[in-house]
Structures are given as structure tokens and as C-alpha cells.
């Protein structure tokens, strides 16, 4: 049951940001995540501000530099179906289409996908855990099959987004607008890990909104892929995943990004693995070494050591698809 709240539908970005600066006020994009949180009492809202009437937030456009601009309110289905995204940014298209289920992709937006709240079942359930202001993490000694193997500290959830790893791999930037103006943050710095602050997941300040995702033009010879591992054929978060983007010249990798999904509280870039492939041909041997490097240093919890194997496999498969 969703407790009652005020519902606003501003028509300008400025108005939306002004409203959102108040406490207990939340932005409503597709609502697929927000309404679930409110229903389950994860947090409460006095006011919900719909972004659906702000026209400039929606759609995929060509940028002047040859890259793409994707409005935060563009649905995952639209991102996945967009020919320009598919042509130049395959990892993102695959990530968008790997998320959730067809209905959810028709409703859920790219901005919402980046800003969705943790999927840890203690967090979503009736547990007052550290991230909700309590004094302990229930997962660390509890049911942690689906928790992190990298980057845990106080809190051990994994970032649920299938698009964020691809965006990090694509060197994308998030455009943010607040009531005092706009700023741009690389997606790789948009997420806040628990070591920095375990009570929030992004750098957004109250009243700030994601307005746009900026995809830089990709050098010729760039390819990308996203491999998601899940137990169920649809409607299932990543157990593990890998977004890879590489630029190949003369059969050799000149530049690579390898980002793990389902591994850490933030999309987890693995520079060691990137170094293994840089300057190399994507042979099976090179790929295997890179995959091994990708999971080096993993610190599994009691029940999630299997993730190391899955991450290794996901990196291998994704890289081999670029070869």
C-alpha cells in the first residue's frame, strides 16, 4: 500500500528543481523504482514531483561533436531501440535491453535507472540497516549470495543498473541541473561508494536532477558489448556482468574499458584487466588473462564466491565478442 503524498507535475526544469529542494520530496520519472520504495516503506515522501511534463528531458539527439545526447526521461525501451545507440554504443543498447522486463523497460527511464535505489533485500525489506540509518549491515552475516565482491565497506550491496556499467565504459557524462545551475560529472564519478558515504548512492544534492546523458563520439574501430548473467531469462538483476568497450586498430586493442556489473556498490571498472588487453590482439589467451585480472583482489562474502567465476566468465564472453 502506498501512503498518500502530494503530487506535482511542473512544466519547467527550474520549477522541478525548486520543488525538489524540499525535504521528503522525490523525483518521479517512470516511477518503477520509486513507487516500489514508497510502497515497501523504504523511505517516505510528502511530495512526489513528476518529470513527465518537462519537455526537454526526453529523447535521443545528435550532439554537435558527433556524439549523442540522451534525455534522462528517455525510456529504456527507447534507448534500446534507438538506431544511433545501437550503431555506435552497442554496450548501452544491450544494457538497456537486458534490464528488467518489457513492461518495466517501457516505463522505466535511463535517468531513473542510474538513480534507482539499492536492491539489497534487507534494504528493501523491514530491516533498519546501516544504509537506512541503522547500526549494522544485515547482509554481511546474512543472506549475501547477491551482494558485492568488490568495494564493500559497511554496506555490501551491488549496484543494480545494467546501463551504468556500459555508460562508464563509454566514458559518458551525466548532466546535472539544480536550483543553482548545472554541472557535468563523468558517469564514473557519479556514483558514491560506501567507503565515501554509505547513506547515498550518487553525488546528487537535494534539488539536483539528472537531465541528460552525454555520449562522446567513439573513435573508428570501437566496439562494445554487455554480457549479463542472470538465473532467470527475464526480470532478474545481474548476478554478474561485464560492459566492455574497445577500440581496435589493425586487429590490436588501442584503448579498452572493462566495467563489472553485479560486483560492487558502484559500476566497477577494472584497469588491470584493461591493461591486459591494451596493445594486444583479443585472442583467447589474452582474454583469459584479462578476465583473471578483472577478478583479482575480489573479496567474496560467505555465500557469493561463485560471483568471481561468473564475473570472469562474463568478461571473457564480452571480450571475445569484440574480437
Amino acid at each position: 500500500m502506498i501512503p498518500a503524498f502530494n503530487y506535482l507535475r511542473p512544466t519547467t526544469l527550474a520549477e522541478a528543481c525548486a520543488k525538489l529542494a524540499s525535504p521528503k520530496t522525490h523525483a518521479h520519472a517512470g516511477g518503477t523504482d520509486l513507487l516500489g520504495c514508497l510502497r515497501d516503506g523504504v523511505f517516505a515522501a510528502d511530495t512526489v514531483v513528476s518529470l513527465s511534463a518537462v519537455p526537454e528531458l526526453r529523447g535521443v539527439r545528435k550532439n554537435l561533436d558527433g556524439g549523442l545526447l540522451i534525455g534522462a526521461m528517455t525510456t529504456l525501451a527507447e534507448v534500446g531501440a534507438d538506431p544511433a545507440v545501437a550503431a555506435g554504443y552497442a554496450a548501452l543498447a544491450e544494457g538497456a535491453l537486458a534490464a528488467a522486463s518489457p513492461q518495466l523497460r517501457n516505463q522505466g527511464t535511463l535517468g531513473g535507472n542510474l538513480c534507482q535505489r539499492p536492491r539489497c533485500w534487507y534494504y528493501r525489506g523491514d530491516f533498519h540497516c546501516a544504509r537506512k540509518g541503522g547500526d549494522k549491515c544485515y547482509a554481511v552475516e546474512g543472506e549475501n549470495q547477491f551482494h558485492c565482491v568488490f568495494g564493500g565497506n559497511v554496506c555490501f550491496y551491488v549496484h543494480p543498473s545494467d546501463t551504468a556499467p556500459a555508460l562508464v565504459a563509454l566514458d559518458a557524462t551525466v548532466r546535472i541541473t539544480g536550483k543553482d545551475g548545472s554541472r557535468s560529472v563523468p558517469v564514473g564519478q557519479f556514483f558514491v561508494g560506501p567507503a565515501t558515504d554509505y547513506t547515498r548512492e550518487t553525488v546528487l544534492a537535494p534539488g539536483e536532477l539528472v537531465t541528460e546523458i552525454v555520449l562522446p563520439p567513439q573513435p573508428p574501430g570501437t566496439r562494445g558489448a554487455y554480457r549479463k548473467v542472470r538465473a532467470r531469462g527475464a526480470w532478474d538483476f545481474a548476478l554478474a556482468g561485464a560492459a566492455v568497450v574497445a577500440t581496435l586498430a589493425g586487429g590490436r586493442v588501442s584503448r579498452a574499458r572493462i566495467v563489472l556489473a553485479g560486483a560492487a556498490p558502484v559500476p566497477w571498472r577494472v584497469p588491470d584487466a584493461e591493461r591486459e588487453v591494451t596493445g594486444q590482439r583479443l585472442t583467447e589467451q589474452v582474454v583469459r588473462k584479462a578476465a583473471a585480472a578483472a577478478v583479482r583482489g575480489a573479496e567474496p562474502l560467505a555465500e557469493n564466491a561463485y560471483k568471481v567465476e561468473l564475473l570472469r566468465g562474463a568478461v571473457e564472453e564480452a571480450l571475445l565478442r569484440l574480437a
Partner: protein, 801 residues
Amino acid sequence: MPRPDAEPRHRTRGSDPGPRTTDHGPLGGRHERPDARAKVAGSTRYVGDLSLPGMLHAGVAVAPIASARVLALDTAAARAVDGVEAVVTAAALPGANLVGVIFPDQPLLAADRVRMVGDRLALVAARTPEAAWRAARLVEATLEPLPAVHDPVAALVPGAPLVHDGGNLVRTFQVARGDAGRRSADVVVEALYHVGGQEHAYLEPQGCLAIPEGRSRITIIASCQCPFYVQQAVARVLGLPLAAVRVEQAPTGGGFGGKEDYPSEPAACAAVLAFATGRPVRFVLPRELDMQVSTKRHAMVVRHRWGADRNGRLRFAEVDAVLDAGAYVGISTVVAERANVSAIGPYDVPNVHVRTRIAYTNNLFGGAFRGFGAPQVTWAAEATIDRLARAVGLDPLEFRRRNLLDDHRRRICTGQLLRRPVLARECLDRAATLAGWDEFHARPRAADTATREGMGIALALYGCNLHHGGQRLDRSSAVVILQADGSVVVRVGLTEIGQGNLVACQTIAAQALGVDPTAVQVWQPDTTTVADSGPTVASRGAHASGMAILDAVRRLRTRLDPVAAELLGCRREQVELAAGRARVAGEPDRSVTIAQVAAELAARRIEAIATGWYRSRPRRFDAATGEGEPYEFYAVACHVARVAVDRDLGVVRVEEVSAAHDVGRVIHRDALEGQIQGGVVQGVGWGTTERLALDHGRLVNPSFTDYLIPTFADAPKVNIAIVESDGAGGPFGAKGVGEPALIPAAAAVRNAVVAALGVELDALPLVPPAIVAALGDAHPFAWVAEEEHEHVRSETVAPGR
């Protein structure tokens, strides 16, 4: 290329398109289900859609921890919530504080002790659902945590925390035939299986509406499988005679056993609140709470020691099973009885010893679930059979063929002789043919790819209807009314919960009366219109209601046939009913319509209503030794699964399941195929992705986002072979299929995955973590050979075989 997640992969191939309605009647055909259109159009009104003037909504406060003493309950804050009309605790109950079906071990409201997460502490009735649930959260319980036990095996060890005062061992069942028989075995397999629980995941959560008439009578409209259980539970907590409690079956959105025993609890809650306030009270459980507090499939730990000779004949089987009852017995004893006698499957084994113990723990309590203990022991048995087949170097099919019961070897483990024909081999052959077993194994398969294919087989022997222990409940009642226009009202005591009982009853009545099915209206049970007919469980719905309908039709015809004979100018023995007409046998041209006969009955004021009654044949069974006839008759099922397993990523895809079922006679082909498809998919879900994540007895994944039932993208193609025969004993010879449809599915998948990977898997579900862990140990197949006998080959089998 972007790849959307898998879309529905296959359309299911059904059995032969049966005859349509013809002169032979609708039996075995596919006429439209009477409830289908409204359900597809969304106009069926479930309990949650019902509303009455002045109606209140119920909420419940439950214990968040699994074991505690209740020191204090403060309801002041809850009572202060605007809109709250009543808050009820144990002290304020009008009748007995008891909901246990068989054992008096479960209170409706916890008074002093909490034994599982979800134990009810207080009930709330309020003008809105929001107020009811908010108030429920404001009930302040002071709980002193007590030691808890969550492992059923540990619970039986002396010194374990006691869930109830009498000790944690609830009961022990046994089957003992022959001696240990180990001397004659050449190979022996030992294994320990952990076969986990399952959530029913019915689409419609638990719900009911209680409508009081002062404090003297009450009507309950319930989503349930057993209106008579609900009636008894409500009468007990209100202190009313049974006749003052009327239970109407609501359209019910799925049960799978989850609405057998459990709905008595919400109904008792709603009834108590209705009496406390004098107003109608609706109680619909939110999904998360429903999953958290309602019964589950029992988790079982099954230890095996089975032996075979070198010719591949089973010599002995020892099974030691422990069933996790959770905090209350509920109907665990009946589940254990079925598990106990199902543990050997459809195999001829000269020496058998089975022991099944029930243990209390502080986990969620087990209840009825499609298969009722049989899927767990079948999973174990079929795993062991495959191990033995490998040990003696036989193809799994051939090994089974050498041991299956048949017309010449009909004695099951309890000593009971199966009725002929025994169709186990027929089912095996039909399923194997549908699956293309031989072609699959003849095809070469690469051993170096990440994705491995495998095929696995499993059989189940299913005792139809209620076990001997529940024999007293195995009766049912029907009423048939011939209306003046020739249409027919049928009332039965068994429920439609999605499985197709309405269409089954409609078909049976139409067939018996020789009318078109559209002339027959079957109404859902109401305890004031039929006598107690027992529960809609044990695949007995079509059987028990159908037999009672046939009896009612027989009685009706004692009044109908003489009138028809007069109209036709023949002897009453010559009257035959078919194709909507009464006619002279052998002279189809001499006929009148049934409507004409009905009008004549009405004109003459002849009683055009008849009751019918069915009770199962009395049987002999010794619960101490497990000898005798636990069930009246049996059905066999065989499933063959084809899987693709990603070795690196641990992901199992079930591509295809070929299911052969011995059903006696088909009543309604669509409903039958629907049961088989649904049973297979539910079994596949249990075997592959469904996992109850319990943290100190608390379910941390009580939602369909986190508890992974199969989606259409996961549903395998289902091929169906129907094996029909005479002599089964149900209506027109039909046997139940609801549970056999599920029982072997997960076991077949398990055997297929093992064949694909070349490692044993001894626990379900086969989720990626389990697969990765099994491959990590990568132990080759292993078995122990009896020392005094020759050792068998012990190399790892080739994957794919």
C-alpha cells in the same frame, strides 16, 4: 547487436486434438471452459474486488523474530489510529484460540510464545486498508528472544532448542519390506540430498470476506481449496455450531496446496474481527506478508543407501528422510505419509526400508504443496537411480526398464498390488520417443564448449486421492437439478481454483446426461448446499466430484427415465440419453429432447433434483510397518528434460520437457494439458531458480522480484503424451493429474544437468551458485562398492551422457 532478453521461446505442443463435442458426448474434448472468458477479460471478481456497505479491512501484527517469549503487547497506539474499529489480542477471543488442522499446536493469536516469524500477535479492523496496516505496525510487542533452531536435522539432536514442550520429533513413519538385502548387491550408492522448500506463488494472494449476522451466524467468502476446513476453523474460534457458518467459495486465483490448510487462518481472523465489530470484514494479505507467513513446500533432508546387482537389478533401498515441519505441524503428518510411501517410486525393489521423520523447527511452517512430499523424495530417488545406472554401466533408460513395475511385477513398496494395466514402461517409452532420446544421444556433442547439453529422465508413482490416513475425509457430495427448460444445475463440494474443476464437472455431468456442456452450469461450492466433501487436494477434484455427480445423475434418472419412456413409448430400461435427447436404445429416430422430458417432469411436479455421494473404498494399511494399501489406485508419470547448461556461468536453461502421463481417461483435454504444462513449469521453477532465502527463519526475498519463479522466457517447450487405459476407477476411468504433472519434472531436470556437466548435484535449486560450487569441487561421479564384491569401473562419465 542489441539482444532483448529471451522472449517466449516455444509454443507448447499438446497431445492429439481430441474429438469435439459429438454424438459421443464432450468427454475427452476441448469445449470452452466456462470460466475462461471472464478470467481472460479481467471481469472475474475475486475477494479483493468485493465490497459491502460498512465493510472494514483487516490487518495483522506479526512477530518479526522466530523464537521469543511475549512479555507484553501494547495496543494503545494502534487503537488511536483514525479509522480503527477494533484491535483484538489473544485475551479477547470468543472461542478456542486454536487453528491447528490436525495437531492442537497452533494458536490463532500468540499469547505468550512466538515460534516462527509471522506468528500473529494482534488483529486490527479499520475503515480503510491503510489505517488497518498502519495500526498493525503500531502494535508494540515486547519480545524476549529465545534460542531457535533452523535445521531440521539439528532439531532432532538432543539438547536442541525445543520448539514445543513435547520435543522436536513430531512423528516417525516407516516402510519395511524384506531385509536389508545388502548381501546381494554388487554396487551401492550412498547420497545425502537437500531438497528445499517452495513458495506457491498463486497469482491471487490469500483473502476472504466475513459477513456476520449478529452474533449468531456468519458467512465467509473465501479464496481457498477447502471451504469445509474454513467452516470448521471459523466455527471453532467463534464457538458456533457448524451449521451457523456458511462458507462460499470465491473465484480463486490459484492454490497449488497453499490454499488447502492456510486459508483457515485468515478466515478465522476475519471472522473474529467481524464478530468484534458487527460489520463485514475483508482480509486480503499483501504479497510480501502472504509469502512471509503462509505455508511452504517442506524442505527435506534425504539420506539414501541403495544397491543393485551387476545386471542392473535393484536389490535394496534404504531411505532416511527428515521433513522440516517448521513451527507447527499443520498437515505435515499427511505430507510425510505420502513422502514415506512414495520414496521408492515405480520400481520393483525386494528389500526396502524407509523412515520419514518430522521435525519441528523455528522456520516457516510447511503445508500442502502440489505433490505433497512426493516431489522431494522423487528427486532423491531418481538421482540415486541415475547414479546406480552409471555404476553398473547402463543407460538410464535401460536401467529403469529393468526395474520398473509392470503387469507381472505389480507390488509397490508397501506390498500393495497395483491394478492392471501398469503403464510405467509405456510412459517411459512414450516420453523418451517424444524427447528423441536415442537421436539426442546418437548426435555427437562437443566437449569443449561452455554450453553443454544434457538429457535426463525421471518417473513418479503417484497414489491418487487421499492417503489411508485421510480416508475419513475421502467422500464427496453433489446435487444435480434438472431445470424445466432442460438446463442443468450442478453443485459439488470441490472447488475451482484455476485447475479446471468446473469444466471437468461440467463435462462429466453433460456426458452422463447426454446434453451439451453449455446446458450445464456448475456452481462453486457453498457449505450450505452440499455436504462436507473433504478438501480439493490430492488430485481428487475431478475424481471425487465426478463420482458424486455420476451418482446424482443415476438417482435422477430413476425419476427421469420412466417419464421419458412414457413419452417415447418404450420400456424405461431402453431409455438412452445422448446428443441432447432421450431416445430408444438402438432406434435413434425415436427420440424426444431432454428439454421436453424436463418440461414433462415439471408439469407433473416430479422431483427433478437429486443428490449424489461418493466415498472411497475402505482400505487396510498399517501405519507402523507401512504395509498395506495407502492409496486406492495409482498413476505413473515420466518426464524427460533437455537442458543447456553454461558451464562457465552456471546458468541452466531447460529447453524442453516431454511428459507422458497415465491418466486413465481424458475428461477435458485442454484442462488436462493445462495441468501438465503448468505442473512442468512449476516443477522446473522449483528445481532451477526458486529459492527461499531464510535468515534466522525470516524470508528475506518475499517478492516476485527476488523469489524467482519462471517467466515465459524460462518456460520450456512441453511435449505431452497421454496414455489412456480402462480400469482406473475414477469417473469414466479418469485418474487425477494435477500433482503427477509436477512431481518428476525437477528430478528430470536434475538428471539432465548432471548428464550435461558430469558432476553430481545433491541439492536444489540448481541456481548458478550451486552449479559453480559443484563444478568447483569437480569430483567425478562416485559410489561405494560393497567390499566383498567386485569393484565397478569408476571413471567419470562422459558429459552429455
